[in-house]
Amino acid sequence: MATFGGDEVSALVLDVGSCWTRAGYAGEDTPKAVFPTSYGYIAEAETAAPNIDEDTIMKNVDSDAPKVQDWDALEKIWDHALDKRLQVDPTEHPLFVTEAAWNTREIREKLTEIAFEKYRVLAFYVAKNPVLSAFATGRPTAVVLDCGHSTTSCVPVVDGYVLKKGIYKQPVAGDFLSEQIMQQFQKLNINVEPHYLIAKKTVVEADQPAVVVYRDRPNTTESYHKYMQMRVIHEFKESVCQVFESTYNELVIAARPMKTFEFPDGFNTSFGVQRFDVPEILFNPPKFIMQPDRPSFDTKSMLGVHQMIYNSVSACDIDVRPLLLNNIILTGGTTLLPGFADRVNYELSMMLHGMKIKLHAPGNTIERKCSSWLGGSILASLGTFHQLWISRKEYEDQGAMIVEKKCE
């Protein structure tokens, strides 16, 4: 046991992402529980509903946002993870929490406070996502491109420390792509009816209108409908969309085979160039973004992911640049789009001539989706790590500000 440097103290690792929350025991290779970072509540009571249902209002707890908006909701998520899923008593375990690289001091202190005051954990630690992703692939130095649900971020990590000056992030990620797909469907006059509305459907020929019997759901909230619609879009995105491997070329793409998608109501059609268009946003945002109805969204200022990596690396000292370029880590669910890694590699080699570029994208889907949880799991089960925990005593002596001192 000691030969591997591991020493498990049954720590809990909690990674609250913008779309999914992962929770589990340190030292394991997959999280015990993965559930959406969304919850429903009943309007009148404003309390969390026991089950997500049509009459609940869907709410997403975006932990990547610069300010965690809804601390109550975050606590609910923690509650759910620890009580319902892992079913543990947090006072018996050290708790390891992940955070975004750009988290402010206030948020970190608040997290510490919740952990010690509300959950009365044995010990606590908070680490940054990109560092953990780098650790999950076994590298102390890397530039981590995390293209997840709400945010795409590119963060250089040197010796396990985030270089703050090299952090680039923008809200163009999986969620944004889904919205754009939605807009694309509206243009194509495709109506996305979620599964819960379909009572009965019949098989129809391609491109023929759906023959469907709907359920009557009068009390459905709008947010629930949207949530369920997004599920369909997610499915579409995961099964149909693709990133073109080299520079976008409509003629070449048109020659690629079409892919058919059947919507929940039975309507099915084939997508050719369209299935490449939306993912192209990740690489050429100003050209491919259809202006979204988000307020204060500046399409012009958005960068392609390769540009983000380039900027991020260029913001670092010249001495580490070759090392960083040799360790580019792709993580986050959106990087699982087919062709994504090839394209990043292609674009980077076009931008950085004569530099050796090496991408590391774990082939395992779970590893790609949960890399920061995995890194946390590895870190929290190391024998040498246990001296870094913030203990209750330290917290009581110095208050929540200790998190800034101990968790770098």
Binding site: Y161, D319, G354, G383, H386, Q387, S391, K393, E394, E408
Partner: protein, 479 residues
Amino acid sequence: MTSNDVRDILELHSKPLNSTDNPTPSKKANKSEKEKKPDGIPRELFQLIGGPPPIAFVKPAFKAKPNLRKKAVHWEWQSFTNQGRGEDDQLTLHHWVKCTPTSESEDSGYWFAEYNKKIDILKYDDEEYEKYLTDKDWTKEETDYLFKLCDKYELRFIVIHDRYEYKERSMEDLKDRYYSVCKKLLQVRPPEGSDKGALIAMNTYDKAKEEKRKKHMCALYLRSPEEIKEEEALLEEYERIEQNEKKFAKERENLLKLLSFQELAQPKRKKSLLSGPTTPTMEVGNSNFHTSTEVPKKNRRTSASSVGSAVIEAEVHNAPITARKEKFPQGVVVRSSKIPLPKQTMILKVQKTLQEFGLGIDMINYICGPRPSIPTETVCARWVDLQKAIQTLLDVKKAVEKADHELKAKKALLQKIKQNGLGSASKSANSGDAGGKQSDVTASVSGDGGGGDESSVVPTKRERITLTTTPRDAKRARK
């Protein structure tokens, strides 16, 4: 009657008492088994390969059964404190520990605590700072801040620079300040160890040099594809030139070897073969080689006459025969046997030449070559020199022929170019170039004066041409 006999009678071959008792039958059986040669394989081959190879070397075996009777290893959920943490910190964590009776000495401390290594950063007090470390650019507060960060991030200057929020500073500034402070402190403090000098050297930092290096690195990082292509092309070109140079140097060396019979007389000069030819013949052939001060004037004159006579003359004048140091082997030897043989291919030719001179006719020996009739030390030495000179002469002749041939070919080519290429501009330029070459050739052939610019180490095209014409020149001179 032994038990073996009984076994024989009962035909119980299969169960010998022990292996030594009955080794031959089993061996025989093995052999007969082995000797069953499959069809299609020649007997010799079969003997070599020794039968079909075994399919697998490992005997197939099932997974060992778990030993259920053995008592399970006892693991215990134990609490521990980590000495790597602060002294007063009482964080008690639990982990599973294998309970073996031998590992009772658990109290030696947490196993991983020893990895808690911290780097030592030099500290200074106010007095020291005031006395030695003041800097017009840095306040004490900022220096303190820097040292705090250095301590926190353990001298990872990339991280320190990233987290440095006191003032806008470049990483070189930070490093410079840190190392200069360390150096100063080491210098003024009383010596502790013997390696103080090494420590000071370790803390020396050249800011200007580092900045320059980074600048160059950045330039390298920001190269455009055109620049990279150009660089690659240049590199390729350079390699090509270098190869050409090597090839040329080799050619020149061969040529010099051919022409340097004078070396015999001046053995000391042999090493300067590549740096500059020293022989008078070279002086004639390639006037740009400029060691004329070293070469006796007489030699230059003599080389204008026939080579053969020049050899002899030069030898007569220069060879300090008495200076030769001879190594005598043990025992009695015939002096003539010490005369080296000419090259195997040239024995006959050398003989023929010697005959022309009227030498060695009576001593023709097809095995060891011609020998002088009275092999005294002097005669033998002369003989050896003469033999070498003859070989050189033959080589030169051969080279001259080759060069002549090449010249003819080149001339033909030139003629062709002249005929074809007078029309277009590019071709005319080409022919002009060729004409230039030609004029160069003639100049070097006729002229024995100085060709100033050709003395460069890197061989140019012109030089190459002049060199290839040298044997011809020599021939002319001979004529």
